[in-house]
């Protein structure tokens, strides 16, 4: 009897324990799919809330078993919560990025299309509309693109290059993005903001002046340029600043082309660039009547040449000057393409230079008739061509011809420069250009 009571008591205890276990399991089961979400940790409120569009699958396709995990448990219209929920189920960061970026892109693509600024968003007859409203749309589009970039950075911590739009300038944004990437991470956003702020001001000025620059507009342009430089200088070190300008400025691009035959060391290039950049930044007026700016530029240019000479020394400066001549640059390029040493390009350049000097003398030689001058120049041309073919080879010479070759003989020049032909000798000596190989 006593034993039975003990068993009953044991069973009661067991059942109580089981009820407790059941209660625990019940309270810790998966939450009902319709109401519960994986909770996100508290996050700082975003400055601008962008709401997701939730792609709810059709009810019929959803099993909706309350005990099973479904996507609805993590989906939320709040991007930040969505990301937290995805992280909570150990979704890889890369996949989270893919999901969020695709959603954000779709969200903004619709807003961009609504602006009707890009040709793909317009009908052919709408593309024909231009003018003031376009500028407003450009501003809106750029704001939208910046908002999207900021959102992606806030959500995912990634920097997405954006192809901002300008009606006035064909900016190589790719080049700028590359330059931003090379900057220390903590300075990128600041530099980007300065650059884009400057572009906005430049576009605004273009929009306002319509190409008619008044002195106050020129002054404003100078001021915005100076402000950009000052702002950048507060963020970047002197070296970083030069690197940034080297990577992005048009001065650097044209200098690279101009010094292509100079073989400048990095140091030489940087120093020359710094001087040239100042010239372009500070003395580049859009007003053709701005003589003060023109004169100041000319003075600074002379001073710059002296500084370059003193920095490079006599020998290198002579090479620098030679490289400024497009004729030498062409020869240098031909030599490079045909596998000839640079020395050959220099010899060919000497031939070209001497021949040009001699041709200039012949053209102004009043003792020759027009016919004699023409004949002499033609003979000189043949001689120069022969010498150049010997130096560059047939392939190299043909290549040079495609660049325009070396022009000695020209009927037009022979006739126009000399105005008083004199009776000269009937036979003339053809000046020969001798080059020691």
């Amino acid at each position: 009897m006593m034993r039975r009571e003990t068993i009953v008591a044991g069973l009661i205890c067991l059942n109580l324990g089981l009820v407790a276990t059941l209660a625990y399991v019940w309270t810790h089961r998966a939450p009902p799919s319709t109401t519960t979400e994986v909770q996100a940790p508290a996050t700082a409120p975003a400055s601008k809330t962008v709401t997701r569009v939730i792609h709810t699958p059709a009810e019929s396709s959803r099993p909706a078993a309350p005990s099973q995990f479904t996507w609805r448990l993590i989906e939320t219209s709040d991007f930040k919560k969505y990301i937290t929920n995805l992280r909570a189920i150990e979704c890889p960061e890369q996949t989270i990025q893919d999901i969020i970026m695709a959603e954000v892109n779709k969200l903004y693509a619709a807003r961009e299309a609504a602006l009707k600024l890009r040709p793909e968003h317009m009908k052919p007859w709408e593309i024909a509309f231009t003018g003031r409203s376009y500028y407003q749309k450009q501003k809106q589009l750029n704001e939208l693109l910046r908002e999207k970039r900021a959102l992606l950075k806030e959500l995912l911590g990634i920097e997405m290059p954006m192809d901002t739009f300008s009606l006035y300038s064909n900016r190589n944004t790719e080049r700028y993005e590359e330059a931003y990437r090379k900057l220390p991470a903590d300075k990128r956003d600041l530099v980007r903001a300065i650059q884009e702020g400057y572009w906005d001001q430049a576009d605004e000025l273009q929009q306002r002046t319509k190409g008619y620059w008044e002195p106050e507009d020129v002054a404003e342009q100078r001021k915005t340029r100076a402000e950009r430089r000052e702002a950048l200088a507060k963020v970047l070190t002197a070296d970083e600043m030069v690197d940034f300008e080297l990577a992005t400025s048009s001065t650097a691009s044209s200098l690279r082309s101009q010094l292509s035959a100079f073989n400048a060391s990095e140091q030489e290039f940087r120093e020359i660039f710094k001087l040239r950049h100042r010239l372009d930044e500070e003395f580049n007026s859009p007003d053709p009547g701005d003589s003060a700016s023109r004169e100041a530029r000319s003075r600074l240019r002379n001073r710059m040449e002296e500084q370059i000479k003193s920095m490079l020394g006599e020998q290198r400066y002579a090479e620098y000057q030679r490289s400024q001549d497009w004729g030498f640059r062409n020869l240098s390029r031909v030599a490079q393409q045909t596998g000839l040493p640079q020395d050959t390009a220099i010899k060919a350049y000497d031939v070209q230079r001497l021949a040009s000097e001699e041709a200039a003398r012949v053209r102004t030689d009043a003792t020759l008739t027009v016919e004699q001058r023409t004949e002499t120049l033609k003979a000189m041309q043949d001689e120069v061509n022969k010498t150049l073919t010997g130096l560059l080879g047939q392939t190299g010479f043909e290549s040079l011809q495609r660049y325009g070759g070396v022009r000695i003989s020209s009927d037009r020049v022979a006739r126009t420069i000399v105005t008083q032909p004199a009776a000269g000798p009937t036979t003339i000596a053809v000046p020969r250009v001798i080059v020691t190989p």
Binding site: R29, A30, P41, M101, P124, S399
Partner: protein, 436 residues
């Protein structure tokens, strides 16, 4: 007996509770359910995903009850099935898979996307056989070959995406060797219905390659033979496109891509053209300007000596006149007058000036009259044989001074001065006299 029944009852309750607990516990393991559903699949020839993705950071909240690992699979089909099993929306599945497949193919695409060194330089290239090819042309050909290989990879990628997701993604346009405004064509393809896009793209791409080959055949010379063949390939292109596109789609496509599209767009700038008007103008211009049925605009057909070839025995000027008449007929007198005014370069320049300095339309029209009057008087001076060169020069200078004054009266000193500085003050042949 009572105690016995109680014991049996309690035992049953225990069994019931144990079963309940077991069922509830099981329902907390969805990954097991998914695994049970995904039966081992037969090996397919489809691509496998990367074996490992970067480890996820520690979850911010409590330990997860569901883990992404249970849906991950190296097999795309299995991965998609797992995602569907957890009710992941189809659009999100697409986003995930497209991004994943793009990453899978990126290393194969990269070498064909990189620019050939020096490709942007307009230099010539000495080929291995010593033949010099115009550099830009050689580089363009090399770039085209690369783009063809890239296209093959992209076709493979798109086929995989179609197999996995049942969707057709648009291909990147295969830009041919020679430069064209390919962007305009991209916009035109994208504006077509999705089911026609790829067919139209293919017809256009084949046409470009044939057209480039034709230029090579005739060494870039527009000989009558070249023009005949050019006309033929364009007729073929249009016939092929007409098989794919309906009349309206075809017209919209041409309104975006043909050479005359650009000139029509420019001619209606500032005119606030309606769709109907635009279509009418485009049709007239197309009829007049496309004698060869292709993209050659008016005036570009030349004989071997470079002389313009008249079409149908009519000069370009005659055809222009005829076009103007037809546009006038289509727009009506009033709108045609506005259309013509908007095409006037002087009027456009003055309008821009007015926008800059806040001038009225009345001032613009007054200044326009002054400009026209200057031109007429200048022409009269030019044809006046009774004047010596010096007299003509002097009269012209006087006229110029008068015109400057009149412009300042009409526009105000500052705008007139700006107009003089930036536009020479006279839009019509400003340096007319100096060329006498």
């Amino acid at each position: 007996m009572k105690t016995g029944a109680l014991m049996v009852g309690l035992s049953c309750v225990s069994v019931g509770l144990i079963t309940g607990i077991a069922l509830l516990a099981k329902s907390r393991q969805p990954s097991i359910a998914i695994q049970a559903r995904t039966e081992p699949q037969a090996i397919t020839n489809i691509k496998y995903r990367f074996a490992k993705e970067e480890p996820a950071p520690a979850p911010a909240g409590p330990a997860p009850e569901f883990s992404w690992h249970s849906v991950e699979s190296q097999d795309y089909k299995e991965y998609i099935a797992h995602l569907r099993a957890i009710d992941c929306p189809e659009e999100t599945i697409r986003d995930i898979i497209i991004a994943d497949v793009n990453k899978l193919y990126a290393p194969r695409e990269a070498p064909f996307k990189a620019k050939t060194p020096g490709a942007q330089m307009a230099d010539e290239v000495v080929m291995a056989d010593g033949i010099i090819v115009s550099g830009s042309s050689a580089n363009r050909q090399a770039e085209f070959e690369k783009r063809k290989q890239l296209r093959a990879i992209q076709r493979e990628k798109n086929a995989l995406l179609k197999e996995l997701l049942g969707i057709e993604l648009p291909l990147e346009t295969l830009r041919a060797r020679d430069s064209r405004n390919y962007e305009e064509f991209d916009w035109a393809f994208n504006a077509l219905p999705a089911n026609k896009r790829e067919l139209a793209r293919e017809i256009q791409e084949n046409y470009w390659q044939t057209s480039d080959a034709l230029k090579d055949k005739y060494s870039n010379k527009r000989t009558p033979e070249y023009l005949e063949e050019y006309k033929r390939i364009n007729v073929e292109r249009r016939t092929d496109l007409a098989k794919v596109l309906n009349t309206e789609e075809m017209e919209d496509y041409e309104m975006r891509t043909s050479n005359i599209a650009g000139s029509v767009r420019s001619s209606v700038e500032g005119f606030n053209v309606t769709e109907e008007e635009y279509r009418k103008i485009f049709r007239v211009r197309k009829e007049i300007d496309l004698p060869y049925g292709g993209n050659l605009g008016a005036g570009v057909a030349v004989d071997p000596s470079g002389n313009l070839i008249d079409q149908d025995g009519r000069s370009y000027a005659e055809r222009e006149k005829q076009a103007e008449e037809k546009v006038k007929e289509a727009l009506g007198e009033e709108r045609f007058a506005q259309y013509k005014l908007n095409q006037d370069y002087t009027y456009r320049s003055l309008n821009q000036l007015a926008e800059r300095y806040g001038l009225s339309q009345e001032s613009v029209l007054k200044a326009l009259d002054i400009q026209k009057s200057y031109r007429e008087q200048q022409q009269a001076l030019r044809s006046n044989s009774a004047l010596s060169s010096q007299e003509r020069q002097s009269a012209s200078q006087e006229l110029r001074t008068e015109i400057d004054k009149a412009m300042a009266n009409a526009l105000g000193e500052k705008p007139a001065s700006a107009f003089k500085k930036y536009r020479g003050g006279i839009v019509y042949d400003a340096n007319f006299i100096s060329y006498q």
